[in-house]
């Protein structure tokens, strides 16, 4: 406790230490500063290097790079990334069960035939020229969004509603893409529009039921036609059946009639042949055969010369 330390006494010792430490510290500091110049460019990224604000280099290859610390600024952009803009809706949750909200004030638009429809669109784009995108436009995405919205509405307004709803979706998509690319090129955005998709085109709620009814009317039309065809498929075969039946019946009649005639004639021919052998005898015999056959069942009155009738009692009957 009573030991007094004289600073001066240890000074040479400390001095020696400081003498070696100071350059070391400075060297380490300088090294640290130089080390902050390292930066990485990921694959799919590109970067521009600005020295005192002046563009000196564009890095298009990925890897570890170095720039002058404190002086050079590096602006990086993911050029391979497919970016998208949504119009008329917003994705709230991405993934398997994605959720969307509709933005009706954005989606509701006039068509060429002055109808109103909701059009939900996705514009996909990629930054292809990082220098243009960073140096020539102030807020690239905002500019693109405004241009895209104008183009979508412009093109939809140029087509009748049914074209957008059903008939010509792909044509409209292509037209929007081309028009938008043209504008974007004029603005020197350095952006390529890779795709424009009409995600969902639907009529406003106020008239939705009328549109649905048109769809069901179309179904009805098909149903009516199907029913009629069913009827035709029933009626025509039945008629063919009837026809076949009628013809078969006629054929049967014909055969029957001919067979009958042949039969009748055969009997007659037999009798005729017999008759020719002895005409008088056969004649009488035939006559008597008939009388024999018919008289027993009859009441016969004979009219005499005076006009009186005499009841003739059948012999056969009496005998029976």
């Amino acid at each position: 406790m009573d030991r007094v330390i004289n600073i001066r006494e240890i000074r040479p010792d400390v001095e020696a230490k400081i003498k070696t430490l100071v350059p070391l510290v400075l060297a380490v500091l300088a090294a640290l500063i130089l080390a902050t110049g390292f930066y990485t460019v990921d694959s799919g990224e590109e970067a521009v290097v600005l020295r005192f604000g002046r563009h000196v280099d564009t890095v298009v290859t990925s890897g570890l790079k170095w720039r002058i610390p404190l002086i050079d600024k590096v602006w990086k952009i993911k050029v391979s990334e497919l970016r998208r803009l949504e119009f008329g809706f917003r994705t709230v949750k991405e993934g398997a069960n994605a959720q969307y909200v509709e933005v009706p004030q954005e989606s509701l638009m006039l068509t060429g035939d002055e109808n109103l429809i909701n059009v939900e669109t996705i514009v996909q784009y990629r930054i292809v020229d990082i220098e243009k995108y960073l140096f020539l436009i102030d807020k690239g995405e905002e500019a693109l969004r405004a241009a895209a919205e104008a183009t979508i509405r412009r093109v939809i307004a140029n087509h009748p509603m049914d074209a957008a709803l059903t008939e010509n979706k792909s044509g409209i998509q292509q037209e929007i893409r081309d028009d938008l690319q043209y504008i974007v090129d004029r603005y020197n955005l350095g952006v390529m529009i890779t795709a424009v998709q009409l995600q969902d085109v639907y009529p406003p709620d106020e008239v939705d039921d009328a549109f649905k009814d048109v769809a069901s009317a179309r179904e009805d039309r098909a149903a009516f036609i199907n029913q009629a065809e069913t009827y035709a498929n029933e009626v025509i075969p039945r008629a063919r059946g009837n026809a076949a039946e009628a013809i078969n019946k006629a054929e049967a009649f014909k055969e029957q009639r001919i067979a009958q005639a042949r039969g009748d004639v055969a009997l007659f021919n037999e009798i005729l042949a017999e008759y020719r052998l002895g005409p008088e005898v056969t004649r009488t015999r035939l006559y008597l055969e008939v009388l024999e056959e018919i008289l027993p069942g009859m009441e016969v009155y004979i009219l005499d010369e005076q006009g009186n009738t005499i009841k003739w009692l059948p012999i056969g009957g009496g005998m029976q």
């Binding site: 604000g53 039309r221 001919i258 004649r283 009859m298 009441e299």
Partner: protein
């Protein structure tokens, strides 16, 4: 003894150097213009495109100005020179929606935007100074131009004639550029984001759309019925034809049978017509004179003769 202290000079010199460097220089980014003023007077401009600024020298007020194209590091006199920066990139100005009236007196809500840039920061500085001030001016100019042009066309053209509207907007850009030339501004593009009819019109549009769809639905259903009727009647016709043809065919066949039968009979009976008559008469008797018939005959008749055995 003081040997180590000379090392401390290094950071000190560096700090002083950095301070001095910052005081004596300014950096201009590739994305901006810079205007340097000395005692309130512009004496130097660093611009993106010098050719757009050269003309300014004709103005005696800016005759001595130094114009530098590019970006990077520049010198200035500390505390005396002031540097102001202006964006040199393309700027998007989204104008608020406004109602305009077309030639056919229809009210249309227009939402448009403009792409513009500051090309001459020196002029811009003295006339506008800030982007916000420029917006107000741009809006006035563009809106009045739009109003003028749209007043000459019908709503239908404005809404659906792309080519006409594109040409009209190109004219507007040209006319507006003439007006903003003195502000150091260039308008690149004016575009209509949306043309909507006022909300009051929606009810009418919906009503028309509804009746149009009802008409279509009716047409589809009627067409269906028409088609169905055609198919049904065609089927009926075919069926009738099939059956009629079959009837004709059947009658022909019957006739053939009948004819054939007659031919057979005739052939046979013609062998002895007299005997046939006798034979046939007997058959007729057999058929006609069945049981319980009362027969009255003349005593002189053949019949009676036979009956009484040739009396």
């Amino acid at each position: 003894m003081r040997a180590w202290k000379k090392w401390l000079v290094v950071p000190a010199v560096l700090v002083v150097a950095v301070i001095l460097f910052n005081l004596l220089t300014f950096r201009v980014y590739v994305t901006e213009h810079a205007v340097v003023t000395r005692f309130g007077n512009v004496y130097k401009a660093v611009v993106a495109d010098a050719s757009r600024v050269e003309g300014i020298r004709n103005n005696p007020r800016f005759a001595g100005i130094e114009i530098v194209e590019g970006s990077g590091l520049f010198f200035k006199i500390p505390f005396i020179d002031k540097v102001e920066y202006y964006n040199c990139r393309l700027l998007t100005y989204d104008v608020d929606p406004r109602e305009v009236t077309t030639r056919d007196k229809k009210k249309v809500i227009l939402d448009n935007y403009a792409q513009w840039r500051i090309v001459n920061p020196v002029l811009f500085r003295v006339t506008m100074r800030t982007e916000a001030a420029a917006y107000v001016r741009l809006e006035d100019i563009i809106y009045s131009q739009l109003n003028q042009h749209i007043g000459k066309i019908d709503a239908e053209v404005l809404i659906s004639d792309k080519d006409h509207v594109t040409a009209m907007l190109a004219e507007i850009v040209q006319a507006a550029n003439a007006e903003v030339k003195d502000y150091g501004i260039e308008i690149i593009d004016v575009r209509i984001k949306r043309t909507d009819l006022p909300p009051e019109n929606n009810a009418n549009i919906f009503n028309r759309m509804r009746t149009e769809r009802e008409r279509m639905a009716m047409q589809y259903r009627s067409e269906g019925q028409e088609e169905a009727q055609k198919i049904r009647s065609e089927a009926d016709r075919q069926a009738a034809v099939i059956e009629a043809q079959a009837y004709a065919e059947a009658e022909r066949i019957r006739g053939e049978g009948e004819a054939e039968a007659l031919r057979i009979y005739a052939q046979a009976y013609n062998q002895d017509p007299e005997f046939y008559e006798f034979y046939r008469t007997l058959q007729a008797y057999r058929k006609a004179l069945q049981d319980n018939t009362t027969l009255v005959i003349d005593a002189d008749s053949d019949f009676a003769k036979f009956l009484f055995g040739h009396r």
